[in-house]
């Protein structure tokens, strides 16, 4: 266990967020059981009021997940000096088995909260609240996941002890070794970059189709998930060596540091927001079309797809700029 202000901050906020989601789930469960929009009973009025609270809580969860994702990486990076062998966040996260899962959960819960809020905002546009039950069922999925994330954060933090010898990004993400990180790093850099850019182009094309025809949103969301994955792979195998101008340095976290102009934030933010909007569009496309939404839904979907495609295009632009402006030749 290491007492560090940032760790305390992360743990306390995760605890509060988990409690609030538990509270929200309690209301969510009651909504699933008793929701009847046609009724004017006091119970129904109370349930409708609780929907405001749940929306506010979820918006906060979304912002919190994103901010804490970066604070978590930041903290891990700062703590690397405490661990033998760690040279940046990559090593600190490797200190015990929970570091990387926490990170993955934070990203996944961010995306889930994003999808939830997309469904919520569509739902609130129709006076019969057509997606209410789906929405609160999804909440009952999200809440345990966030609780699990907080528990893992607790395990990660309590398992941090300074005598652990860990590996640094140099070994974690170096070619020719075993393990997921090394596997990602040993991809052919130019092929992985090409796959990523290709997927972004595909997303843009499919996005244009969905935008114009109002169809293909589910396919778009699948592609946007692929863009996210290929983006991370490309970052590890190709973009990071170009950014650091070191052919062997494959760390996906160092790029978040000030030395590289915080370009990492722009890269990951555009990627995450683009994917979130894409998944949101897919989720709305997958839901049973509600008659009451028939006038507003197409505009909502168009907005999401356009926003997502713009984010991806911006991300690809930044990536190509980083690679193009690097002094490294591979």
């Amino acid at each position: 266990m290491i007492l560090n202000p940032a760790i305390i901050a992360l743990a306390v906020s995760a605890f509060i967020i988990t409690l609030m989601l538990a509270y929200a789930s309690f209301f969510g469960l009651r909504i699933i059981r008793h929701w009847d929009i046609t009724s004017g009973s006091e119970l129904q009025l109370r349930l409708e009021r609780s929907t405001y609270l749940i929306s506010v809580i979820l918006s906060n969860v979304l912002v919190f997940q994103l901010a804490s994702l970066f604070l978590f990486i930041f903290t891990a990076d700062r703590m690397h000096t405490l661990f033998v062998g760690a040279m940046c966040a990559a090593g600190t996260l490797k200190v015990n088995a929970f570091g990387y899962p926490v990170l993955a959960f934070k990203a996944a819960n961010f995306l889930l909260a994003f999808v939830w809020l997309v469904i919520n905002s569509a739902d609130l546009r129709a006076s019969d609240y057509p997606y209410t039950k789906i929405k609160y069922s999804l909440l009952l999925v999200l809440a345990p996941l966030v609780a699990l994330e907080s528990a893992m954060l607790g395990l990660y933090v309590s398992g941090l002890s300074p005598d652990v010898i860990t590996s640094c990004c140099g070994t974690l993400f170096s070619e020719g070794k075993q393990g997921v990180g090394s596997g990602l790093a040993s991809f052919d850099p130019h092929a992985s970059l090409a796959v990523f850019i290709g997927l972004v182009c595909m997303a843009c094309a499919l996005g244009a189709y969905a935008y114009l025809k109002g169809r293909g949103h589910v396919a778009y969301s699948v592609v946007s998930l692929a863009v996210l994955v290929s983006g991370i792979v490309a970052m590890i195998s190709c973009i990071s060596p170009y950014v650091y101008e070191l052919p062997t340095h494959h760390c996906p976290f160092c790029v978040l540091q000030a030395e590289y102009g915080y370009t990492g934030y722009v890269f990951y933010l555009t990627l995450l927001i683009g994917t979130g909007s894409g998944l949101g569009a897919g989720a709305l496309g997958m839901l049973r079309p509600a008659e009451s939404l028939s006038t507003v839904l197409p505009a909502v979907l168009r907005g999401l797809v356009a926003w997502s495609a713009v984010m991806f295009a911006a991300n690809a632009g930044i990536t190509l700029y980083l690679v193009g402006s690097s002094n490294l030749v591979m």
Binding site: T38, S39, G40, S41, E42, E48, S127
Partner: protein, 222 residues
């Protein structure tokens, strides 16, 4: 045109202090007319006004506004309709202290998403029409009773509603101010607005502008 069918409103349902404020109200309110709702306090007047004015939902029964059923609309939508359709004048005017008269008028328009200069211009016009434009920048707590009453009316008018609802508007006014109030309402009626007043004040009920009087007692229309 507002229609109510078999409307009931129950408070604290299922508990020992359960109490039905409205019991099976069926009525319709004619457009462009002045309807007075008369009844002693505790008769269900306020509950009825609040359901008619889309402020709350009935426990059971149905309500139509211009042919559209609004009974099961959630608050989010009901408020939108209320803002566009109804203007309210309350018993004690309920102006917010510490801000100016014009701000009190404007704040009813803030959530509509209109820009401030536009709202301000309209608010000034309405204050001008009511003859208190020069009081626009006075703090609301320094206004005289008559001025406060006009500011309250201006606030009810700022979103240009078709229907005005006044809840016991003359309860705290002397005779002169009460008559003045009725004159203003006369003008508003002539402008083509529907007016609903709850009152048991003879100045209101017996004034020439009221087209129909409905009497409510113990939550039932007489």
């Amino acid at each position: 045109m507002i229609e109510l069918k078999d409307v009931t409103k129950v408070f604290n349902s299922g508990r020992p202090n359960e109490f039905a404020a409205l019991r099976g109200i069926t009525m319709s309110i004619e457009p462009l007319k002045v309807t007075a709702i008369e009844g002693p306090s505790g008769s269900g007047k306020t509950s009825l006004l609040s359901i008619v004015g889309c402020m709350s939902r009935p426990t059971s029964g149905r309500v139509w506004l211009d042919g559209r059923e609004i009974t099961s609309l959630p608050e989010r939508f009901l408020t939108g309709i209320r803002r566009k359709t109804f203007g309210f004048v309350f018993q004690q005017f309920h102006l917010i202290k510490g801000i100016t008269a014009i701000e009190n008028v404007m704040l009813a328009s803030y959530p509509t998403g209109e820009s401030r200069p536009g709202i301000r211009k309209r608010a000034l016009d309405i204050l001008g029409m009511l003859g208190i434009r020069e009081k626009a920048e006075s703090k609301s707590q320094w206004l005289s009773g008559g001025e406060a009453q006009r500011v309250a009316i201006a606030r009810a008018l700022v979103n240009d509603p078709e229907i005005l609802i006044a809840d016991e508007p003359t309860a705290h006014l002397d005779t002169r101010l009460s008559e003045e109030f009725m004159q203003i309402f006369m003008r508003l009626k002539e402008d083509g607005r529907t007016i609903i007043i709850s009152s048991h004040d003879p100045i209101v009920v017996n004034s020439g502008i009221v087209d129909s009087v409905r009497i409510i007692r113990d939550g039932v229309l007489a």
